[in-house]
Subunit: 488 residues, 4 copies
């Protein structure tokens, strides 16, 4: 089974988005478009992917595979098994525990056969009361097939007394707490929903006479679809040939709390989030950093590839020349399979090499997007000093990550987050660099378009990973002993 490869060379020390969702209705061979969309969303989940399509003659068809979209959903022999004008898909990253061949059952979309017909569903986000719901459902005779929190939604739908699938989905989602952007389908309808806070993104596009739903706009571009609008927080859209796009508001109103880390790292730089270019926001974070934390230096280097836009902004604002001080090996998209002991120990050198001729003797500003455990920051520092750098200054394009995410991002336990245990000064000493500075939370909000910075008490974004301010109480985790900030 193919091992899954993250985009970032130090991916062991990055937060990971857990999912991307996609759906298309009203075009021939819809599954092919979904495959393309999922390919463009691959950065949101590399472990596995799945597609379900519907066609009247053969009914619902599905294929779920471990590995990259490009290695599975491009084979004509597979795609021919997914006919029809309506299809949805999902890419997923998951925690190590449930990885492996037996977990193909955990790969979405999930499917349920109800008395009024079948429905398939793909979910990006995380349900924070999933364990309580699961216990309740099992007590009443539901049989779970996966270890996924998302499967609850299907079982809740199965037990609803409503007569249509969209109504059953509303019933089910009202029981669910947490973050969710969902793409679902019946035999005739494509459905999109975002939770009341709109934590995860979901956008609507137009492709010919049909429609597409996608986690990000970059996946509309790839199929030649035009971006129409974002699905609103708390909105459900039901799209069909007959009625076009119908909009519903099944939930109580709440203030939007979009995930600010989508701007910092998760989303692709060529996507548009909330009307803003992700690239431009990241470049602007570099500008803010250069203002907040200037330094005398000879060279600004990005940590490839995610630090690049902020490094360009920092260089531009500071006037310090920009250069590629760290070169990435193009052939490490996929991690080494069954690596020998010797190769595992090579670690960073397999992925990166320092451009010695450029670095030697220089005072270097290294721009990275975040510090999670801090392990790789340390290795990079060593490589740079070995190559003869005179000084090393870290500039981080996000505030210190001190709290875990419970809304669909794979974060280490709180104790493993460097910033949960150390002050900025302690981190500088720990990493042994000449200086270490993070952009401020206000600086980050300004870069993301909030000229006045963060509104205290009523922040415009979910920034729980930086602030510990969780907009939805993580019920299952609290039951297991997690302490909220107020409770510490």
């Amino acid at each position: 089974m193919a091992e899954m490869p993250p985009a970032h060379p130090f991916d062991d020390d990055k937060l990971k988005e857990e999912c991307g969702v996609y759906g298309v209705i009203g075009v021939a061979d819809a599954a092919n478009f979904v495959a393309l969309g999922l390919h463009a969303l691959q950065h949101r989940g590399q472990e596995a992917g799945g597609i379900v399509s519907y066609e009247s003659e053969t009914g619902f068809n599905s294929a779920r595979r471990f590995g990259y979209v490009r290695d599975n959903f491009t084979k004509a022999s597979l795609m021919e098994t997914l006919p029809g004008h309506l299809a949805i898909g999902h890419v997923r990253y998951s925690t190590a525990g449930s990885k492996g061949q037996t977990a193909i059952r955990d790969v979405q979309p999930f499917f349920g056969e109800f008395s009024m017909g079948g429905a398939a569903l793909a979910h990006n986000g995380n349900i924070v009361n999933a364990e309580a719901l699961r216990r309740e459902l099992i007590d009443h005779g539901s049989i779970f097939q996966s270890s996924s929190d998302s499967e609850c939604i299907i079982h809740l739908m199965a037990r609803s007394f409503q007569k249509t699938i969209p109504e059953r989905m509303k019933d089910a989602l009202r029981r669910v707490e947490g973050a969710f952007s969902i793409v679902a389908m019946t035999r005739t309808k494509l459905i999109g929903v975002r939770d009341p806070l709109g934590v995860r993104p979901l956008v609507l596009g137009r492709i010919g006479d049909g429609w597409a739903l996608s986690s990000e706009t970059c996946a509309l571009d790839i199929i030649g679809a035009t971006f129409v609008r974002e699905i609103e927080p708390g909105e459900m859209v039901v799209i069909s040939a007959g009625n076009g796009v119908e909009s519903f508001r099944p939930f109580q109103h709440a203030s939007s709390r979009f995930c600010i880390f989508e701007h910092v790292y998760f989303s692709r730089p060529d996507s548009i989030l909330g009307g803003r270019s992700v690239y431009e926001t990241r470049r602007q974070i570099g500008v803010e950093l250069a203002r907040e934390a200037p330094v005398e230096a000879d060279l600004v280097c990005p940590v490839p590839d995610s630090g690049t836009p902020a490094a360009i902004g920092f260089s531009h604002e500071s006037g310090i020349p920009y250069g590629m001080g760290i070169i990435r090996n193009q052939y490490v998209g996929r991690t080494f399979i069954e690596p020998t002991e010797q190769i595992r120990n090579m670690g960073v050198r397999l992925k990166l090499n320092v451009n010695r001729a450029l670095i030697a003797g220089k005072r270097v500003v290294l721009v990275d997007d975040s510090v999670v455990r801090g392990t790789t920051s340390q290795k990079i520092k060593e490589m740079i000093l070995d190559a003869g750098a005179a000084e090393v200054h870290f500039r981080i394009a996000s505030p210190p990550t001190a709290w875990p995410c419970f809304y669909g991002v794979d974060t280490p336990e709180k104790e493993k987050l460097l910033a949960s245990r150390m002050s900025e000064e302690e981190m500088r000493d720990h990493l042994g660099v000449d200086s270490l500075r993070f952009v401020s939370l206000d600086g980050l909000y300004r870069a993301a378009g909030e000229a006045g910075g963060r509104t205290p008490g009523c922040p415009q974004y979910c920034d729980a990973c930086f602030s510990g301010d969780y907009p939805v109480a993580p019920a299952d985790m609290i039951e297991k002993g997690f302490k909220l900030k107020a409770a510490e």
Copy 2:
């Protein structure tokens, strides 16, 4: 069988290096080091790779595989079959014709059993009189197993009357015309040779008590070896435990003619060639371009990834801001397998997306490393204009490529090279851009460290692909009807 993926998103329209070679002696599990070295040389050949090792108990062992080094030569089960303190390896790209599973016989290193023992050999370059030699050898009873030009060397060695393998190799190489950097091994010796003109690179490194030979210095870095020196043009080194590095000069002296395209595109930016940083040379080409071909514009964008250093240089010299106008999908390291028709037609969009928010309304300078057929330059232009660019100016970090290479680079036939049929002005019209400029041959030489530019009549580099000035007559090709410049 895995399809092979080039690094560059428009690889169909790039010249391709055909090989990388590597060897290690004097360290335990030498094959593991060779695997790492080949991984670092993967950009020089992605189709297949092979390693041969020697150990007294099991003799010579070999493994040859299609696909990436990281996907094959990292499995403990395979590497255990390659024991010993001495090993060599090869990565290869080849033309479409001989691709496929049956051509595993074409994958190097090649091996021959002679009366005094066995020898293995890996070759980077091209033998221009291989077909004549092959006919002669077959007439005398040699049986060829591959379609590779390099196999001639083994057969010439088998027929030599010399008593040692290094002497037989000298005998054989004196019959051979063309470009070659060779790494070979006997049961006790590691051997490196460069042809008299030194067209292809080969460097020597020290690793612990042992030695390494490599096409490029970046592959010394990955194993922690220190760079000692380049193997000289026309030099043969024979390295053994007892005698260290012995140097021989088996060929008539000739002036060095190192391939200047190694600086422009083939070698990795973090390698050192002829004492110069490849990254710095490329950045300097951008500086030269900005001087030779200035333009009023708002943004300098590299065509990712190979145009990046020159774009940085151009931006720095011109003062025009640098930005990522084209975003590359990180998950297209490997080409789509068995792509459906629809996906094949997507072409560029699978690999690149335009950063619309950055491009829209701007006058854009696009910096690319070369123009071969021109097909992808055209697609990129279209994407940029579709995204709303006000003007598009191409700046190319090499002179027009008008002649095929016969020294180990896969080039299209002469007629397919855009620059062989059109002037710079015609190319500009053909591509439909606002301006198109190539760096001059003198500018390129200056960037590569020759302050006085190209010395006419006695150029410091092989630049046949730009100038048509072939330092070794391509005998087999001339027999097949190829016309030299003088003969046109």
Copy 3:
């Protein structure tokens, strides 16, 4: 995905058993014993197999694979994932419709997590009211994961109000109509059940301090277990470390109706059914045939391999010499994969060849076990005549197969059964042989040990495929329009 190969060279024209079940408790590495047992039961299902084991540390583990047991469940890497002292398994053949990679979900054992813990279940037989049950369960909110009739049992168990899994299983099975021999397990118990009529076999064996349940005794032999007794029709046994074998009678009493075709073809000749050797019963059928339908001839030939015992009996009783007139290619255990058109057309010749030297000029009696569609009987006749046989006499070791089975055997639709459309005489003409005779139903019963033949009105066996006398009304099929004999 490997295509699965039946044992019989003309398997397209044979009835097929759909399942074998096996379970072991009380021995270390129980899954290894289950693998061996399933290997010995491979003739009962070749498409796929699955094993579930339980161990306190890792909980329930499962592996389900397409293909032969020997090709999957013999790999140390897989078997190590199935630890524990308790395991059950299943081999399965299925109809073409649900074949293919997506149907791995249809491979048993099935697993359900209940509030009191998990249970796994493997089923041999067929539930005749499965579709009605399925509709009812879906109406109440159950989500089905497979297209298998057996999944109903798990959902019925999930909805039971009983507090223990054995009690829930009793609840569930009382709702189920049809034929079932079930092996199931909880965390601590191995459970075996046979339906009230005992249509499918299930036997109990002792292995060291532990116990085994198996469809046939031959699969006790392979692990060195001793045969203890058959599970009785309508009996449920619950086996645990603490309480040994406990016996329950959850169903209303009914007269036993064991499947007589198990004697004729399905079971292995070295198994013991109802106290009788299958080999001996088959040999005795040949004796009965020789008495009922004597013929003057020179040679008795079995149609390999299933006709062999009856041919030996026929030869012995008639005094006509026995010989191998048809030679089977040993290497057709597995069907040709992706066969070219030409090879598909070769059909029989890939599998069998006539022993011309033996056949030529002789009057040949061909003994086969059954005639289903008659297609292969015809091909064999042609081969025999082409080889120069003087006469061809078919003797069939079962009565005419005129009715489909609804109790776990894959039969063609009624119209495709040759004997449903033709009299014995018409079949003889259709096949173009010199004579064709089937053993009588009474002769078959005598050979199976019923000295007085079949008891009319109260037959000792289920012989519905010959008589149309169905002991349980096939509810789902009747709803779809199937006509019982009385209704014709």
Copy 4:
């Protein structure tokens, strides 16, 4: 890579034929016919197979694979790469040493490109002076690619001064000592040769307007070809569209010495060898055995499957009933892959089971084809006694195997052959059976059609494995210290 499975359940204790050869000319898609022929010859070699075809447009094409013919050469995608009206093929078994993936180079047919064009060659037999020839060829500059003795022939052909390939082949074969049946091809000719003694079989068949060469007649039957005649010992046939079948006699005349073990075990029972049915010869050996070594008993059982014809003959002659006392598992065509330790220890039980009900209390005659090491005879005896047999009498359908074969059969070293160390009486004691008798050498000759038995001094067959009378001195082995009978 798939492990290869022999047909016989105790194959570790059997002599193994090392090859089968096949060729077809003059029919469209010749490679498909070759694949069918090789499938029918699979019993002669299960490790690997290869096919070479020729077509004017694409030239020579070849495919060589480990594993069964049916698993490789039935895929349309592969067979399409082997176009043309002329093709040859080879199946092979080889000794353990050179097994594994790297030895694909040892898989025939071998191919050589000569100045007058290419030729491919497949060889059944063994060259007894191959090592001396190999040393000589290497000294003169030949490069060997395999460890196969057969490759010498190609190199000898390459060095011949003759102008045509058939003449070069004659030149080469005159240098070669040992046993060979060869099928070869040029661009226009199919060539067949047998060594002067005719040790291995080779037959000619007619298929439509074309011709086939095959090791055995059973492989003519499978493609619907008619048997024309055997290639004579010492004959070379050259078959072409223009000239039909031309016959040559390149070697000195010698008396024929066909391998008598082909009758005993290697060839398929449905083949015709030297005008005699193999089945009939084997049955007749059983008759001879019953006459030479009668015994009072209740049951004659074959050891499946190769002992069956002799058991039928023994039963017929002795009047003792024939029965299937040992049942073979149909699903052990392929050996267990990566078997767990536990499964490896199961040994015989995976493959065979005793039919207890038949055996219990009976005096049993077990008929087997040969005794090699005696290891499995012992295990079978134990199974039979465990099942309650009253007496066990072994009757062996060949004389004691006391000498290794050097003519293309894989035999253990002399010391490992039970009969080289023990008398018949000692073997009986060693095996612990009630009686053990082998057919006499004269009895074997009589059964094979030589009414007068073996002609001393001038035997009609090669029977070296029984008699130690080697018709060609095994030169390489003698050099390594092997002692002939006279020298003992």
